[in-house]
Homo-oligomer: 259 residues x 2
DNA sequence: AAACAAAATTCCACACAATGAACCTTCAGG
DNA sequence: CCTGAAGGTTCATTGTGTGGAATTTTGTTT
């Protein structure tokens, strides 16, 4: 995500390098050796080894037969994040209500760099997937991501689009930059986004922004269900329910400042 | 968890300090200012500020009105851990099977220092709790923890008991060190642990160890249910089912070395 | 609204922690 | 038994992390 541009004067070089190694471990599906870690993070073997040794000591990395992978200590961090976070706390009952009345799956996303992260999900009648996808990094230019992209500063948005290059929907259909920009404009105007099968085939999602006291977008509420259940009429009233839910979270979040 | 003993020659002091700050953020329920962070981690304000600035840049910390809390970037780490980990992958279908046949909640724990961490859970008929507790840090001297404690090296176990001091069950009943040691010995002999309401009132848990190819305990499978459903007869056959599940995970885990 | 208090943030010269090239060890394959 | 590849170790050098003090910001009291 963050390239380590050694030129730039970065305070705490060693820490940034360590976090970079952690990011490589996150991306790497399988366990990875120090030589490969060094290659991937552009650091010397010795440096990488020192970093993973410390990470291992604290449980953030695990050594298995000379190879390294993420360690179990990352789980308590995520647990503490979800429990301690004001946003997830106030959103939980609202998402429950939303999932129950619509009988579909309700989710909460926050933006992280040029991606969004699923921070909370309540399944409706039939789960979308079995394994829990909380923490998954998803793109901003499709689905509920559009709500978050619509709130990005113009310049940052264009930097992201430059990085992304050619965009496609899951159907394979290309997504022109101009088409996305107009769509984002429409999302801003109408206050919600509808995404028919943009990221997952056969899944229709409706999403609306959660804002803080200053009106800045801090998260997106999304409701997703199978295409055949999401008729135009249902999408109509669901879009209202989603906006209501997002507004309710916004109010309670803004109201309890300093919690 | 890890005291920062500055005396000891620790390579990568700055990284260890940063991880220590991260641990403080994890423990702190509410957002916390740099002064308090400095107090809690015994570091100067300036140092703490530099550390949290970098953590914030990478999304591991969030600044909200001058106070800091964990950031959303910890969630993708946990997600990657669960997806990429061989153990959770092979355990998933076994836990599903176990939860289905027993109609109770099946869990998988790994040891992390002197605690255990819940890494996977499949709910039975009635969930034990609503909010997902994956990543929770729990003690080793009660419940499924006994299976992990039973596998600790003698010296390490005693160091832990020294740190713990007086132990109590959730009922308030004190737990003598000698009583725990004999119980651990029994767990080793019979290959599983039964914990009637040790950690949570009204919940009975049965647990068995998962071992790697060398026979070392790497995790614990646990099955927990309400006391009134867990009759002695059910505990009897459930303890067999749990051991079978643990053995199956052990075999598949050992079998796929290097995955 | 002014004055104060407390906390966040910036600055800087020094000390020593982090660095990486070179070296050692282990192990798999031929 | 040799060879190559990868994990791990060592140590002199240097530039990075450090913390006290100065400065700005925030928020609380009068």
């Amino acid at each position: 995500m963050h390239d380590i541009k050694e030129r730039e004067s970065s305070k705490m070089r060693s820490l940034e390098r360590a976090l970079h190694v952690l990011a490589v471990l996150e991306e790497s599906a399988a366990a990875i050796g120090v030589t490969d870690l060094g290659r991937a993070s552009k650091l010397s073997k010795a440096t990488v080894l020192r970093i993973v040794s410390v990470l291992e000591k604290y449980g953030y990395a695990e050594k298995i037969q000379g190879r390294y992978r993420l360690g179990a200590a990352v789980l308590p961090l995520a647990h503490a994040y979800v429990l301690g976070n004001e946003l997830t706390r106030v959103a939980l009952p609202v998402l429950q209500e939303l999932a129950q009345t619509t009988e579909e799956t309700a989710s909460l996303f926050v933006r992280l760099g040029f991606k969004r992260v699923l921070v909370e999900r309540i399944e409706g009648l039939r789960p979308l997937r079995f394994v829990l996808p909380i923490g998954e990094r998803l793109p901003l230019h499709v689905g509920a991501g559009k709500v978050l992209a619509a709130a990005m500063p113009e310049a940052e948005l264009h930097r992201m689009l430059d990085e992304l290059g050619e965009m496609h929907l899951v159907s394979g259909e290309p997504l022109a930059r101009q088409a996305l920009l107009s769509e984002l404009e429409r999302v801003r105007r109408q206050g919600y986004a509808v995404s028919p099968g943009e990221r997952m085939m056969g899944i229709v999602a409706v999403a609306a922004p959660v804002t803080d006291a200053d009106g800045a977008t801090v998260a997106a509420v999304s409701l997703a269900g199978a295409k055949d259940r999401m008729t135009p009429e249902k999408i109509e009233w669901v879009s209202i329910a989603v906006r209501d839910a997002a507004r309710m979270i916004s109010e309670r979040y803004g109201g309890a400042r300093g919690g």
